[in-house]
Symmetry: C2
Subunit: 348 residues, 2 copies
DNA sequence: TTTAGCACTCGTTCTTCCTGAGTGCTAAAG
DNA sequence: CTTTAGCACTCAGGAAGAACGAGTGCTAAA
């Protein structure tokens, strides 16, 4: 059933009032805020109906109404006006984008910090790959006679390095050989294929060569594992406390713990699809998020990889504003990654 | 003036009781806990004197006593028994040490996470260098005709890389030349010396070469800046909330914000000297820490660098236990970095 | 269909009172 | 001189109650 225009207006007024004040909205407040030429009693009747429809809720009998998750959902889907960022806001975001950002996986973590500062909400950021990551290239650089650096590059243009110190010495030709072998046998393999291949090669190679190979390949495995686990960066967790719904510790603590452990355990709401996505209250899979909302936006990194950045907050969030900011920010990132020439689009 | 043995015993009992219960300690409790054969009235007299000396405090007239910062200080300096870790605890730390740790600056951040999990307190970790860091070596790896990877190594054995994409193309010989130039002119220079040198070279080099050089040198500057700023990693901030002194938001919030921003702004209590250091309450420089204590331990990374890892908590902390853990952990890290052969002592 | 009026609900806040842990002091005992 | 028992006193914290007021639902009239 379609809502009457007046009901929509009222629902919207409730949501927007509540977003601002964090307090239940009464019928009088609606009369004052929305430009309706009816009395509060009429509004009360309408609100009672909206409550029956499950769009509004009463925290207790004699309080105003607050939007239910369904109410927010309807608001987000139909009622919300696309928020236009002010010039200052876009300027702020642009500045933030141009500053600071350096290496690929730092991009995600930096982006999170920036967004958190901009929005005063905790953020999370991660990268997802549509396909499995593989190592595309190995370079070995000699440091001293008993140490060398391995530089690995994945197909997603991510570069990682590691310094190895050995108990025995290696010569430059040995390293050269090793490098050739690695590039021949261990490129283009997914995580699952690496270990079997390692075993296979071990049969042919000598003891000493094998130990070197396995050192580097172990590192490759680490790198790929890290990428597959979609390491999550979080930032700005304490900013939760600034919002009235998390003033009570019982509310704040589990969520804060969840957020800070999210980074470790990689447990994350499954995400895909383009652009901005909003999950309201119980729409979230994780129990800890059932009373909170998540707004996230994805951006293209290139190389089949997508970055996702999101903010977490109370269901009472300024969805319009946040969605606009995230979206704009994500577009900026996509652009940065897109045309690699500009500025500093480098990756680690 | 030296305290009588009985006063010491009482002070110690107060501290240890309070550490456990987080509640003011009364005279009766002391009689029960310490093996003293005197009545509570006697204890009361003694406690009154200890209060006059500034070692104990009363939250309000009719409550028990709690240690003042000076009381804690005296306890830590003279009364505290060196805590011996149980075999399980050392085992736990050893496990943690061998696991996970990979790259140099990840060591610090990982170590922080581990300690935070072990202690249930927020941690911070950073590296300090006694001397200025310099770039000791540049390697340039060709990727495609319009992109290359720069691998930089500092004297502290820290390796960083970055992928550069260009709008024009470069040839292998060009890169070779560039690499030689960088290694000749831009190694061994501190942050302050790099920029002047860059200007000097720009005079001789052609337009195009100069733009490449400045790209890489800018990166070098970034790397050195990052190292000089002693980037601080924090972890486990939400675990603050588990402790009763931070149950009230007014107490918790400023500290949490301070900790989370510490990572950004690099503002940190100046640290040096070996081994474990304890800062109690007002001994901390930062205002936000005036009601908290910091326990930190340093470890040797090698190459003139020192790592520092610390925990932050209420003044009521189990100093003995935490100091022992941190110290043991730091020793483990020093050992790891010391003999480079073992396990995985690599650095980024 | 809208509105005014009114009784009712119920969270919030303020006050009051009570309790009990713990103190400081005094005076007697060791 | 030190220790102890006794006692009056203090004060945070919790419980209970009262007053308040914002907001509702319902009824009856416009």
């Amino acid at each position: 059933m379609e809502l009457s225009d007046r009901k929509k207006l009222i629902l919207r007024a409730v949501v927007e009032n509540y977003i601002q004040t964090a307090e239940p909205v009464g019928s009088k407040a609606i009369v004052a805020s929305a430009g309706l030429k009816v009395s509060s009693a009429t509004i009360r009747n309408e609100m009672a109906e909206l409550e029956n429809l499950g769009l509004l809720e009463q925290p207790h009998t004699s309080a105003g109404r607050i939007p239910s998750p369904q109410g927010y959902r309807l608001y987000v889907n139909e009622l919300m006006e696309e928020h236009r960022l002010t010039i200052q806001e876009t300027q702020k975001i642009n500045d933030a984008l141009h500053l600071k950002i350096r290496q690929m996986d730092q991009v995600m973590s930096e982006a999170g910090k920036i967004i958190s500062q901009l929005t005063r909400y905790p953020t999370f950021a991660l990268a997802t790959g549509s396909k499995k990551a593989v190592i595309s290239r190995y370079d070995l650089l000699m440091v001293e006679e008993n140490s060398f650096i391995a530089v690995l590059m994945t197909d997603g243009q991510v570069v990682k390095n590691k310094l190895f110190r050995l108990s025995e010495t290696v010569s430059a030709p040995q390293l050269q050989l090793l490098s050739t072998l690695l590039n021949t046998s261990f490129t283009g393999l997914t995580l699952e294929e690496l270990t079997p291949e390692l075993l296979k090669v071990s049969a042919h190679a000598g003891e000493e060569a094998y130990s070197l190979i396995s050192l580097v390949v172990s590192f490759a495995i680490e790198v790929l594992e890290e990428m597959e686990n979609h390491v999550v960066h979080t930032a700005g967790i304490p900013s939760l406390l600034a919002h009235p719904e998390y003033q009570s510790l019982e509310k704040a603590e589990p969520l804060m713990n969840f957020l800070s452990e999210m980074g470790e355990r990689g447990s994350l709401p499954a995400v895909q699809g383009k652009n901005v996505k909003i999950l309201i209250g119980p729409e979230n899979l994780a129990d800890e998020l059932k009373d909170s909302s998540v707004i996230m936006a994805s951006y293209d990194i290139g190389g089949g990889m997508q970055g996702v950045i999101g903010v977490v907050g109370p269901t009472r969030m300024d969805y319009a504003d946040l969605a606009a900011r995230l979206s704009y920010f994500a577009e900026g990132l996509s652009r940065m990654f897109g045309k690699g020439e500009l500025a500093e689009p480098a990756e680690e």
